[in-house]
Symmetry: C2
Subunit: 443 residues, 2 copies
C-alpha cells in the first residue's frame, strides 16, 4: 500500500462496507501522514467517500477537512445526512462553518443554525429533520407514492408522521402498516394516535431509556406547541448508551470528564487527563486528614502493641472493597431502574444480612491467619476478627445507603464515586479497629 | 384500585402502552398479592395481555404462569413473538415446558427445541426465525404481495432476505428499497449481495459491536453452511448493551455474577449476593498477608517514629484511587476499541507524565499539611511527599499496565477488578513509603 499502489488499494477498499473503510482509513492515519490518507480518500468514488467520512472520528474529520479544497469540503458536507452534517459542523472552526453555510440554500442554512443551537446531550441534539410526513386525508396509495418521490435513507423512512395544518403531530403510521394495507384506505383510519414522543429539551439518557423500554426504531421529537421538529432513530441511541455507560463507569471510579466530549483516551491531552482525575484525589486527601487524626489519637496505644499496625491495611482495604461492591450494585440498580429510593428498608435489611454472612466467613479465616501464620496472641486475633465483622457490616450499609441518599437529593449517584465510599469506610474501619483494641487489649 | 374497582382500573390501564401497563402491573405486584395481579391481568383484552406479558420481568412471568390455568398459559405462549416465547420457556420448569410443547404444532416444536439449545449470550440466543424471505426471480410487486400476505411485526419486516434453493442466504433487500422501486423490477437486480451477517455461535458482545459500528436495524444469522436461520433486531441489542455494561461495571468493582442472569438486585438472594462478592474479598485478604509482612518487617522502625503510621491510610488510599482511575480508563478504552494493546508505549508515556503532574501537585499540598496542620518535622514532610510522588507515578503505571497485560493474555480486562489494582498498589505504596522513611529519617 505504501508503495504508491493506490489504485489497487482502492479496489481492495471497495470490497468493504463504508464503516469498515472508515476503520481502515483510521488505522492508516495512525501509521502515516494525513496527506497519505487524503490521497487515498480522493481515489474513492464520491458516494463511498461521503459515507466513509461520516463514520470517521471527529478529530480525523477535522484533519481531513483542513487538507482538502473548499470545493471538496462543500461537496462532502452537502452530501452528508443531516444529523452527520450537524455533528461535523459542531467540530469545525467557526470561520469554516460560515464559509460552508454561505454556500448552503437559505432554508437549510436556517435549519442548520437552529440545530447547532440545541444543547449537547438533549433530544434536540440527537434528532434529524429528515422524516416522511403525510396528510391524514391521503390514501395509502398517495402515501406510498409520496415516499417513492422523496425516497430517503432506510432508517428514517420506516415510520411516517402525520401532521395537521398547524404542523402539529397528530399520528404515526409505520411503513409496514402502509405496505400491508389496501391502497384506498385513508391514512387517518390507520394512523396510531397514541404514540411515544420526546420533548426537544429532554435529556438523552431519558430518551435512551424510552428506546429500551418500548423497543421502537424511531421516536418523534416535538416542541412546546407539540409541533413535530425531528425524529430520533435507534442507531444514534446505541452511541448514546455507550457514552452514558462510559461516563457512569468513569465517574464511579473517580474520573470526572470535564471535556464531556467523545474524544478517546489517547486523544485527550496529559494536562486534561490530570485535570479530570485531580478533583477526587484532592477531596480524598482532605478526607484523609481526619483519618490521620484518628490514628494520631491512638498513636501511644499503637506503639505499645505495634503488631496491630500490620492489620490496618487489610481492614481498611476490605472495608473499602466491600463498601464499593454494595455501592456499585445500588448505583447500577438505580440507573437501570431495578432499585428505587423507596426500597431503602429492603436494601438495608438485605445488606445487613449479606454483611453478617461475609463478615463471619472473613473473620473465621482471619482468626486462623492471625494465630497460625502470624503467631500473634488470641486477644489480638479477637480484636482483628471482631473489627472485621463490624467493619464489613458497616461498610455494606454505608456503601448501599450513600447512593440512595444522593439520589434522594436529586443528584446523580454515580457522582459519589467509589473513592468517596472507601474514604468514609476507611475512617469507620479505623475507629472500629481501635475501639475493639481498647476493648480486648485494655489499651 | 384495591377496592375491587377492577373495571375502572382496566379502563384506566387501557390508556397506556403495553410497556407501561407491564410497568404498572410490576408495581402493583410489589405491594400486593400475585392473585390480585392475575385478576387484573385477566381483565385485559387478550392482545394487550399478551403484549404486556412479554414486557414483564421473567420472575413475574413465572409467578403468573403458576397462578393461571393451562389453557391460559397455552394461549399466551402461542401468541407471543417467537423470541419472547423462547425467553419465557427458558425460565419455566421443564415439566411445564413439555406440557406446552405437546400442544404446539410439530414444526414449531422442533424449531423451539433448536432455539432452546443455543447457549446463552451467543447470536443464536438473540435471534428470531420470524423474517421475510424472498426469491431472487420475484419482481418487486411479487415481493410486496408476499409481505402483505405474511404480514409481520414491524421490527422484523424492514429487511427482507433472499435465499437460494439450498436455503443459503444470497442477498438482502430493505423494505424501503422495495417501496421506492418500480414494481416490475426483479429482486435479483436490487438485492445487496455484500452484507454483514453473524455466525450463530458468535458472542453477543461482538454482535452488539457490529450493530454499533454499522448502524443496521437487523442483521441476519447464518449457520456453518451459510444457511439463513434467523435475524437479530436492534431492539434486542439495546438490552444486550445494558447487560454488558452492568456486567463490566460490576466486575470492575469486584462483584462476580455467578448466576449470570438478568435478575435484579432485589430478586437475588442474600446468599447469592454474598457468594458473588466473597471471591474477590478472600483473594484480597490473602494478598494483604504480604502487605502485613511488609509492615511487620518495618515494625521496630515505625515504633520509634510512630507519627509515620498516621500517613499510611492516606498514601495507600491515594495510591489505590489513582491506580483505579488509570485502570478504569484503560479497561473502558479497550472495551470501546479506543485503546489497543499495541498502544502500550504510548499509554506508558502518557500515564508517566500524568503521574508526575498529579504527584507533584499532591506532594506540594501534603508538604503544607504535614508541616502546618500536623506540626511534624521537615524530614517527616519530605518522607511523606517523596513517597506520595513515587506512589502516584507507580500506581498510574501499574493501573494502566495490568489491564493491557490481562488483555494480551486474551482474558477480559474487567475481570481484574479495581480491588486487585488497589491491593497491588497498597503493597507498592507501603514499600515506597518505608523506603523513603529509611532514606530521609535514617531508620
Amino acid at each position: 500500500l505504501e508503495e504508491k499502489k493506490y489504485f489497487s488499494a482502492r479496489d481492495e477498499l471497495m470490497k468493504y462496507n463504508a464503516a469498515d473503510i472508515a476503520e481502515i482509513i483510521e488505522e492508516i492515519t495512525d501509521d502515516s501522514e494525513i496527506r497519505m490518507t487524503v490521497i487515498l480518500f480522493r481515489l474513492l468514488p464520491k458516494d463511498v467517500l461521503v459515507e466513509a467520512f461520516s463514520y470517521l472520528p471527529s478529530d480525523l474529520q477535522v484533519d481531513i477537512v483542513n487538507e482538502i479544497t473548499d470545493k471538496e469540503i462543500n461537496y462532502i458536507i452537502q452530501e452528508l445526512d443531516f444529523d452527520d452534517k450537524i455533528d461535523v459542523l459542531e467540530e469545525l472552526p467557526a470561520n469554516l462553518v460560515n464559509k460552508i453555510l454561505e454556500k448552503t440554500p437559505k432554508n437549510e442554512r436556517k435549519q442548520i443554525n437552529t440545530f447547532l443551537n440545541y444543547p449537547e446531550n438533549c433530544a434536540g441534539s440527537l434528532m434529524t429533520p429528515e422524516y416522511i410526513s403525510l396528510q391524514k386525508e391521503w390514501t395509502v396509495e398517495d402515501a406510498l407514492e409520496h415516499i417513492k418521490e422523496v425516497g430517503m435513507d432506510a432508517e428514517t423512512v420506516y415510520t411516517c408522521y402525520v401532521k395537521d395544518t398547524g404542523r402539529k403531530l397528530i399520528g404515526i403510521v409505520s411503513l409496514s402498516t402502509l405496505v400491508v394495507t389496501d391502497s384506498d384506505v385513508k391514512i387517518k383510519d390507520i394512523m396510531k394516535t397514541e404514540y411515544i414522543y420526546e420533548d426537544v429539551d429532554r435529556d438523552q439518557e431519558e430518551v435512551s431509556d424510552d428506546f429500551k423500554k418500548y423497543g421502537y426504531l424511531a421516536i418523534p421529537v416535538v416542541d412546546k406547541e407539540h409541533r413535530l421538529i425531528g425524529i430520533i432513530t435507534v442507531d444514534d441511541i446505541l452511541e448514546v448508551m455507550e457514552d452514558e455507560a462510559t461516563e457512569d463507569i468513569e465517574r464511579m471510579n473517580g474520573v470526572i470528564d470535564f471535556e464531556n466530549s467523545d474524544k478517546g483516551y489517547l486523544d485527550i491531552s496529559v494536562w486534561h487527563h490530570a485535570l479530570n482525575r485531580l478533583p477526587w484525589l484532592i477531596i480524598l486527601m482532605i478526607a484523609y486528614i481526619f483519618t490521620g487524626m484518628i490514628v494520631t489519637k491512638f498513636e501511644n496505644s499503637l506503639s505499645t502493641v505495634i503488631c496491630l499496625v500490620a492489620y490496618m491495611p487489610m481492614l481498611m482495604g476490605t472495608g473499602g472493597n466491600t463498601g464499593s461492591q454494595a455501592a456499585t450494585l445500588i448505583i447500577r440498580g438505580l440507573a437501570t431502574g431495578e432499585v428505587e429510593t423507596d426500597d431503602v428498608w429492603k436494601i438495608l435489611w438485605k445488606e445487613f444480612r449479606i454483611g453478617i454472612i461475609i463478615g463471619v466467613i472473613l473473620s473465621i479465616l482471619n482468626f486462623a491467619r492471625v494465630i497460625f501464620i502470624d503467631g500473634n496472641s488470641v486477644m489480638v486475633a479477637c480484636t482483628v476478627c471482631a473489627a472485621m465483622l463490624f467493619i464489613v457490616i458497616f461498610a455494606k450499609i454505608i456503601g448501599s445507603m450513600i447512593p440512595l441518599i444522593v439520589k434522594k437529593a436529586h443528584l446523580d449517584p454515580a457522582l459519589i464515586a467509589n473513592p468517596a465510599i472507601s474514604s468514609v469506610s476507611d475512617a469507620v474501619a479505623l475507629s472500629i479497629y481501635f475501639g475493639m483494641a481498647t476493648l480486648f487489649l485494655n489499651l
